[in-house]
Every structure is written in structure tokens, then in C-alpha cells.
């Protein structure tokens, strides 16, 4: 394999990995404040893309379509929290997980009824003539996704460390009871997490649509991969989530490139889930995890 090719695989991996990273960030936000694994996360990504497509069809310029999609899906996240999560905040994780599974089924079906079954396109933000870096070509759109991911990670770090609300969120993730005793409104923190998480995933969805199109069923696979990325990076760690997403994308691309036999791409998705299992068995706190994992 030539160096050019190697770089091309890395570039492919970054393209897929950046959307895993954004989805993983969404998981992280919710997990951090509630310990819930939100199985509807991929549906937020899907909704973001589809809403933007409709806005653009109605003549909205791309930036406006982007903002509307992010805001709308953020609201969906808030409504979801109010309706389904709020009544179960003290009901145990199993019930909460099941509710998110139910929501994912419902959201997906409603999206199918609204937008139909076929994939829909969205034009790229800044043209689709590829940029060639050291012999590897990358789409401008991928740079947009990467840029957005970086901005969000930095913004989140600032938010968590510098703002009072952010500190409150962190306090809740460490010890909800103690946080509540200190006068932090736990329920408001949870609400905020769901809204933010849905908005971030939606932003990712809008960004990725020009590269890969969007359909009602696309959220499931993205959600699963984002989840695997989360575990890889360590549940609850935003930087780990992003790193996990990119590493996962690159590993998948390299699986295609390095496995010596023809047709190795069939095992590409297997890699993600194999890594997930290995990490769970060998290092359940993830590559970059800090949270302690309690043994029974």
C-alpha cells in the first residue's frame, strides 16, 4: 500500500468518524447527567438532516436551514425529556433505557410517515470539488463536520469548567443527591442535557447529509456506531467520545484497506462491535475513561 492510499484511508475514516464523534458527544451529555444511555440518539441525527432538507426545499438558505433544524430538534429533545424521561427519573435505569428504545421506534416511524422511505439529498455547504492534501482527497463538507466537532468540544469544555450552569451539570453527574442538597435543580440540569444533546446530534445530522443523504432509517446505524465510539472513548468523557469516534472511523477504514483479502469491507462494521466487546471485557472504563466502574 502506498502512502497516498494510507492517507486516503485515514481521510475516509475521518469522514465517517466525525459523525460518530458528534453522535457520541450527544450520548455523553445525557449519560453524564442521568446515567441513561439514550437509544434514540441516532434518531436526533436523522431528524436534523431531514428537517434541514425540508427547510431547504422550501427555499431557506443553508445556514438558516441548519439553525432551524438544530433548534427544532433541540425542542424535540426537551419535549422528549419532559414527557418520557421526567416521570421516570427515579425509576431505575432499565425503565429509562426501555423508554428511549420506545421513543426511537416512535420517532423513526413518524419520520417515515412525514418524509417517506427514500433517501433525500442536501447540497454541500461549500461546493463538492474535493481538496487534495498529500495525495488524499477530502470533501470540504468533511472539514465542516470536523470543524463543528472541534467547536462543540471546546465550547462544552468551557461550559463545563467556566460557567456556573456547567459546573452544576458536572456536580450532578458526580453526585446528584449532594448536588441537589447544594441547591442545584437536578431536573433543570437533565432538561438542559437533553436539549443540548439533541441539538448537537441534529447539527451533526445536517452536516453529514450532503455527504451521505438522509432517510428515516439512517439513524439506527449511526446511533449504534456513536454508542460504540462512546464506549471506546469511555462513557461520560466528551473528549474521549470525540477521540473514540475518530479512532473508530479510522479503524473501520483501515480494516477495508489492510485486511489482505478481497471483500474484507464486509467485516468493517464487525470491527466496531468487536472493539466494543473487547473494551467492555478488558477495559470497561474505555480508553480515556476516568469514571470509576464499580464491581459488584
Amino acid at each position: 500500500m502506498s502512502f497516498d492510499q494510507f492517507l486516503q484511508y485515514i481521510s475516509s475514516g475521518i469522514t465517517s468518524g466525525s459523525i460518530y464523534a458528534l453522535t457520541a458527544l450527544g450520548f455523553t451529555l445525557i449519560y453524564n447527567s442521568t446515567d441513561i444511555i439514550n437509544f434514540a440518539q441516532g434518531e436526533f441525527v436523522m431528524l436534523g438532516g431531514l428537517v434541514a432538507i425540508s427547510m431547504h426545499e422550501w427555499g431557506a438558505p443553508l445556514p438558516l436551514a441548519f439553525l432551524v433544524a438544530v433548534a427544532l430538534v433541540g425542542i424535540v429533545g426537551v419535549i422528549f425529556e419532559q414527557l418520557a424521561i421526567r416521570p421516570l427519573l427515579s425509576a431505575g435505569v432499565l425503565a429509562q433505557i426501555i423508554v428511549t428504545i420506545g421513543a426511537s421506534l416512535a420517532i423513526r416511524t413518524v419520520a417515515m410517515l412525514i418524509w417517506g422511505r427514500e433517501s433525500l439529498p442536501l447540497p454541500p455547504f461549500s461546493g463538492d470539488s474535493p481538496i487534495v492534501i498529500l495525495g488524499a482527497s477530502i470533501l470540504p463538507q468533511t472539514l465542516w463536520v470536523l470543524g463543528l466537532t472541534l467547536v462543540i468540544v471546546v465550547a462544552l469544555q468551557l461550559f463545563y469548567r467556566r460557567t456556573l450552569t456547567g459546573k452544576a451539570v458536572r456536580a450532578c453527574s458526580v453526585n446528584p443527591t449532594a448536588a441537589r442538597l447544594m441547591g442545584i435543580s437536578y431536573s433543570r440540569v437533565v432538561l438542559l442535557s437533553f436539549g443540548l444533546s439533541a441539538a448537537i446530534s441534529a447539527a451533526g445530522g445536517v452536516m453529514i447529509t450532503p455527504v451521505s443523504f438522509m432517510s428515516y432509517s439512517a439513524g439506527a446505524l449511526i446511533g449504534l456506531k456513536g454508542f460504540a465510539a462512546c464506549i471506546l472513548g469511555g462513557l461520560g468523557n466528551p473528549v474521549g467520545a470525540v477521540a473514540g469516534g475518530l479512532i473508530l472511523g479510522i479503524l473501520e477504514a483501515l480494516t477495508v484497506g489492510f485486511l489482505p483479502f478481497s471483500g474484507s469491507s464486509g467485516y468493517k462494521d464487525g470491527v466496531a462491535f468487536l472493539i466494543l466487546l473487547v473494551i467492555l471485557f478488558a477495559r470497561p472504563q474505555g480508553l480515556f475513561g476516568r469514571r470509576t466502574v464499580e464491581k459488584v
Binding site: A84, V93, A95, I101, S104, A106, Y267, L276, L280
Partner: protein, 329 residues
């Protein structure tokens, strides 16, 4: 225990068994028989998953994979290597048990829902292997021409004979589950769900118990897969995606967690509801399932079998909040 006492103690089980086993005598229509046949295999899976979720408080998001091990195990061994179907079923079930143990031992030692994550990943890997290992599974073409189950000249390919066999096994599993819940093991399992630390300090080996129940649920699922495939005679990977795992979880949740009968009502409900919805527009089926999952979890944590407690719950809801005891979720 005398017969009368036994009958009184197990009245519900005996009545249900009688209804299930006598049904084919009154149903001539093969269409209804086929729905009942699928209900039996669904019940087998649901019972195992119900034990896992209700008794051990753990969820498997890859149970379709265990059904697939049974189904593909039986299909591959009988069509390609001419193994006796009963032996194939046994070997597949052992394989499922082994895999469950390998998955369960490391993850169930940890607090939290690592089993859910591991089974999710495992389910995806099994699905990919079903598609990719063409030499063994014939890939997406699927395997056709799978023989019926037979004992000597007795052919269980006939709808009635199959009904009695499949429901016989399902009822046996139901009896086993009911016994398990009543036993010391069952009590220690429920202790796990409620107060792990307390159970631990009382000397219950919590993670061993959890692994045990997970293995049982995998075996139930595998046997169900084997029965399914000997009835439908054709199999392809499509049937075993993560969606099916979610449908299985839905079955158990709707029926009712923490009560073995929940699996029964869930299975019946989940197979007849789509038949009913078909008359309107099937596109709504998943919407209805999704909303029901949410609504049941919030308002009816006991599922369909919990409906009988609703009057009491309502009464409590209208008493002043400070008079309420802690919610028993």
C-alpha cells in the same frame, strides 16, 4: 401434596395449559393455527428474557442473536450435514449457553448495564457473520428446504402435531420459569434486582446467579429458534437484526416485568396486535409499539399483567402525597 392441593396451587397454569393444548381441536383454520404456532416460539424467547429482565434486572439487546444461533444451528446442521434435528437443536442450545456464559461472566460482574451494551454489540456481530459466512449460512440467500421435526413416523410438519409439540415445550418452559421464580434461586434473583448490596451481604452470589439466568434465557431463545426454523422451513439473516431484539424486549415489557405471566400475555398480545393493525395501516405498527413502550413504562410498569393492580394504584394516586409510601418501582 395431594392432587387437589396441587391443582389449586397451580390453577392458573393448569387452566392455561388446557386452553393452549385444546385450541387445535376447535380451530380448523390453518391461518389461526400458524399464528398460534408463532406465539409458542415467541413465548419461549419471552420467558427467558422475562426472567433476565424481571428477575435479574438486566436487559439483553441482542437476544435475536441467540434465536439465530438456534435457528441457524438447526438449519445448517440438518440441511448441510444431515444431523438429526433433535441432536442439532441440542448442540445449538449448548452453543448458545456457552456464548451466553462467555458474554455474561465479565459483564455481569460490573455494576450497571454493561450486559445491555455487550449484547447489543454481540447481536450486530452475529448478524454480520450470518451475512458474511456464505460458506456456512449461504449469506443473504438464506437456507431453504429445512426438514420438519419427526419422531419415528410421527411428522411434526403437520400444523396440529406441531402445535402440540411447540406448545408442549413452551408450557414446560413456563412451568420451569414459574418454579424458578418460586424457588430459593428466584428469591435471591429478585433480591438482586431490589438491593444488590443487601443480597450480597446475605451471602447470595449475585453475579453467578445473574450469569445463570442469562444462560437459561439464551437456551430458551435458541430452542425457540430451532422450533421456528423447523416450522417455517426457510431462514435468512433479515429476521435477526437488532430490530427483532427490540421487538423481543417490547414483548416482555408490554406483558409485564417481574411476573412470569407477563411473558405469556406479551407474546399473545404482540402477535395478535399486528394482525389487527393490518386492517388499518401497517405503517403505524412501529409507532404504536414505540408509544406503548413509553406509556407502559410510565403508567403501567407492571405491563398487561399489572393491569389488575390499577384500581389500587389509582386509589393511592388520589390520597394526599405525604400519606404515600415510597413508590415500589
Amino acid at each position: 401434596m395431594g392432587i387437589v392441593a396441587y391443582a389449586r396451587k397451580h390453577a392458573a397454569f393448569l387452566a392455561f395449559s388446557a386452553v393452549a393444548m385444546c385450541a387445535p381441536l376447535f380451530i380448523g383454520n390453518k391461518y389461526y393455527l400458524s399464528i398460534l404456532a408463532f406465539t409458542a416460539t415467541r413465548l419461549m424467547v419471552a420467558l427467558g428474557l422475562n426472567l433476565l429482565m424481571g428477575q435479574a434486572g438486566q436487559v439483553s439487546l441482542g437476544h435475536a442473536a441467540f434465536v439465530a444461533i438456534g435457528a441457524y444451528g438447526s438449519a445448517v446442521m440438518t440441511t448441510r450435514w444431515s444431523v438429526n434435528p433433535w441432536l442439532a437443536m441440542l448442540v445449538a442450545a449448548l452453543l448458545a449457553a456457552g456464548v451466553a456464559a462467555i458474554l455474561g461472566v465479565p459483564t455481569l460482574k460490573l455494576r450497571g448495564h454493561y450486559l445491555a451494551m455487550a449484547t447489543l454489540g454481540f447481536g450486530e456481530i452475529v448478524f454480520i457473520l450470518l451475512v458474511q459466512l456464505k460458506g456456512l449460512t449461504l449469506g443473504t440467500d438464506g437456507i431453504s428446504g429445512i426438514p420438519s421435526l419427526t419422531i419415528g413416523s410421527l411428522d411434526f410438519g403437520r400444523p396440529r402435531a406441531y402445535h402440540w409439540l411447540a406448545w408442549g415445550v413452551a408450557l414446560l418452559m413456563l412451568r420451569m420459569s414459574l418454579n424458578l421464580v418460586d424457588s430459593r434461586v428466584g428469591r435471591s434473583l429478585r433480591a438482586l434486582d431490589r438491593a444488590e448490596i443487601a443480597a450480597l451481604s446475605l451471602g447470595v452470589n449475585t453475579s453467578f446467579r445473574k450469569v445463570q439466568v442469562f444462560v437459561v434465557s439464551a437456551v430458551f431463545a435458541s430452542v425457540a429458534g430451532s422450533f421456528y426454523v423447523h416450522y417455517i422451513h426457510y431462514i435468512s439473516p433479515d429476521s435477526f437484526s437488532v430490530t427483532f431484539s427490540v421487538v423481543l424486549v417490547t414483548t416482555v415489557v408490554l406483558g409485564g416485568l417481574g411476573n412470569v405471566w407477563g411473558a405469556v400475555w406479551g407474546s399473545i398480545f404482540m402477535l395478535f396486535l399486528p394482525e389487527y393493525l393490518k386492517r388499518f395501516n401497517q405503517d403505524y405498527t412501529n409507532l404504536v409499539f414505540g408509544l406503548m413502550l413509553i406509556v407502559v413504562m410510565i403508567f403501567l410498569p407492571g405491563g398487561l399483567v399489572g393491569l389488575r393492580h390499577v384500581p389500587a394504584r389509582l386509589r393511592r394516586r388520589f390520597t394526599p402525597p405525604d400519606a404515600l409510601p415510597a413508590e415500589d418501582t
